[in-house]
């Protein structure tokens, strides 16, 4: 219990004093995971949309594959990517190993299946009658897809948030691709692993608390953006105006 209490105190201390080492690690974590989330969303939403709105041979099988990849272990993604981008690998010339950019690539690959799968579910959750209504109102194919994406915005937000959560919380890719190099590729999760190994439990807990705080800020901001998209305020049915 002492360690936890000590960790909380230390976390507050580190945050309040804006400890430069900790701030650098947190910022790098945020930079890598947000970049990965952004890239994965830019791929998952259109491709997921394409899969949902088109009928093609093997569609169901593809969705099963995507859903299976939800469970891919982070270390497996790390290992495969390591073999690809290491100096002797086929993509070795890119020089991505042990760089933040390599970590972004790894986390992007890691979270694309879960984001894409949940985007497909989110779009499936929009009733067929909505799509018929939009077509009957004279929507072009593109206008229809855009409105359905907006209709599914909260469910798509969940997909993005979950993807971000998986990215910022993972250790496997960060460790194997990044290498936990201080001041260069050390992120919150690899730092926690290291400090715990060295018996610095208080600092580890402090870093864990900081990680959750970062996640909280990101989720709140994403929620605000999504509500802004609809230009209307959430009302509770049965409330004063509902």
């Amino acid at each position: 219990m002492d360690d936890i209490a000590q960790g909380v105190t230390q976390a507050i201390n580190l945050i309040v004093t804006l400890n430069p080492d900790v701030m650098q690690i947190a910022a790098l974590s945020l930079y890598i995971s947000l970049s990965a989330t952004l890239i994965a969303a830019l791929i998952s939403i259109p491709v997921g949309g394409f899969i949902h709105f088109h009928e093609f041979y093997g569609k169901r099988a593809l969705i099963v594959v995507i859903q299976t990849l939800y469970s891919v272990p982070t270390v497996v993604v790390g290992l495969v990517l390591y073999l690809m981008i290491s100096r002797s690998g086929p993509l070795g010339f890119l020089g991505l190993l042990f760089t933040p950019e390599g970590m972004i690539l790894g986390q992007t690959i890691l979270i694309i299946p879960i984001m894409m799968g949940l985007v497909i579910s989110a779009l499936s959750g929009v009733d067929k009658s909505i799509s018929d209504t939009l077509v009957a109102l004279g929507a072009t194919g593109f206008q229809k897809i855009l409105e359905i994406l907006k209709e599914a915005r909260y469910a798509i937000l969940s997909a993005v948030v979950l993807g971000f959560g998986r990215a910022i919380a993972e250790v496997g890719v960060a460790m194997m691709i990044g290498g936990n190099i201080r001041g260069n590729t050390r992120v919150l999760t690899t730092a926690i692993t290291l400090e715990t190994g060295m018996g610095e439990f208080g600092l580890s807990i402090a870093l864990g608390i900081i990680l959750l705080t970062v996640a909280l800020i990101v989720v709140v901001i994403l929620n605000l953006i999504t509500s802004g998209l609809s230009h209307d305020t959430q009302q509770i049915p049965g409330g004063p105006n509902g």
Binding site: T133, V135, A136, L137, G138, A139, E147, S230, D232
Partner: protein, 361 residues
């Protein structure tokens, strides 16, 4: 306005619409009536170009609607459709109504004015900023109607617009349909399984049964001269009996059915079999022992009451007079005449109230 030529639609092996041809005139209210599952919705979706037919053509204002998606979109934008179960998008009422205008690139200021006018027309001027999903069923249906008319369509398609509504909301919607039709000259094509509604609203009615358009005509023609046994049953004619034409002088025929002879108007010639259709509300009943038996009636049948069923302010009385005859009379006259199961009665039917068709059997 809309001409349908030999249209069919299959879903897998099922033939939902069987070769159907039809012309809907500009400015009329045309109503499809038919039982649930008869293909009304499928036909309406084909007309709105939401689905493509398996074979046959639909002409809009003389133009074949078959073509690229872009060409079909251009035609579809001249129509508006309201579905049986209105779907609203999770945003404000005003934005829901504005979708059609937004898709057509109408500027915001103009759009807002039109939306407000459309919501005023349907009697919902004060809900613009409310979230559409919090509306009641009747309000949602009115929003769906406002959304369809705000683009000033030339053809308005309404699929069972009042099927899920309470009577008050249904009346409101019906009034609106008539007003829109009269005010803007909009051609209205609607579907209903409610014959009474069809009668109230429609200039012409098309009866659909098992994916086939079996009869087209005015309400009077459909209700008093149904084209066949199934249609007769669907429009509420229960007393149907078969007989033989004994003589026919200039369309005034005597038909023998069972032990009784009927006088009726028909062109069916002597010696041929005929089916008799009688609307229950055209049958009068008088107790057999009463002195009030009317002599003006050409057709008098003696029988015994076998069943009395309440039917709103009316009662349906089934009389066994060799065949089963149903009479629809008011509750009040039923009790004033002292009718009960077992009472011997005289049933009277005017010659003009009997509809005769060549026997299909």
């Amino acid at each position: 306005m809309i001409r349908i030529d030999k249209l069919t639609k299959h879903f897998g092996d099922a033939e939902i619409i069987q070769e159907t041809s039809l012309a809907v005139r500009t400015g009329e209210i045309f109503t499809f009536i038919g039982p649930s599952g008869s293909g009304k919705t499928t036909l309406m979706r084909l007309i709105d170009l939401l689905d493509r037919p398996t074979s046959g053509s639909i002409f809009f204002d003389g133009r074949d609607t078959d073509g690229t998606e872009q060409a079909r979109l251009t035609i579809r934008r001249r129509m508006g459709m309201v579905f049986q179960k209105p779907a609203v998008l999770n945003t404000t009422v005003a934005k829901n109504v504005a979708f059609g205008l937004k898709f057509r690139g109408v500027p915001d200021a103009e759009s807002q004015k039109k939306v407000q006018a459309a919501l005023g027309l349907v009697g919902l001027p004060d809900v613009t900023d409310r979230r559409a999903v919090t509306l009641s069923g009747g309000e949602m249906q009115r929003v769906a109607l406002a959304r369809a008319i705000v683009t000033e369509p030339e053809v308005l398609l309404l699929d069972e617009p009042t099927a899920n509504l309470d009577p008050v909301s249904a009346d409101l919607i019906e009034d609106l349909i008539i007003r829109i039709n009269k005010k803007s000259g909009t051609t209205v094509i609607m579907s209903t399984h409610d014959m009474i509604q069809g009668q109230r609203l429609a200039d012409r009615i098309g009866v659909i049964m098992n994916g086939r358009l079996v009869q087209t005509g005015t309400a009077g023609e459909i209700f008093y001269q149904p084209g066949g046994r199934d249609i007769a049953r669907f429009v509420g004619i229960e007393a149907i009996t078969g007989g033989m034409v004994l003589e026919n002088t200039g369309g005034h025929a005597v038909i023998k059915a069972g032990d009784s002879c009927f006088e009726a108007l028909t062109d069916i010639r002597k010696g041929q079999r005929a089916a008799l259709y009688i609307r229950p509300e055209e049958v009068t009943l008088t107790p057999a022992d009463s002195s009030q038996v009317k002599t003006s009636m050409r057709n008098q049948l003696n029988g015994r009451i076998t069943r009395i069923l309440p039917y709103g302010p009316y009662v349906r009385v089934t009389v066994d007079c060799g065949f089963l005859l149903t009479a629809l009379i008011t509750r009040r006259s039923c009790s004033e005449l002292g009718l009960a199961v077992g009472t011997e009665v005289v049933a009277g039917i005017k010659a003009t109230a009997i509809h005769v068709l060549a026997d299909e059997r």
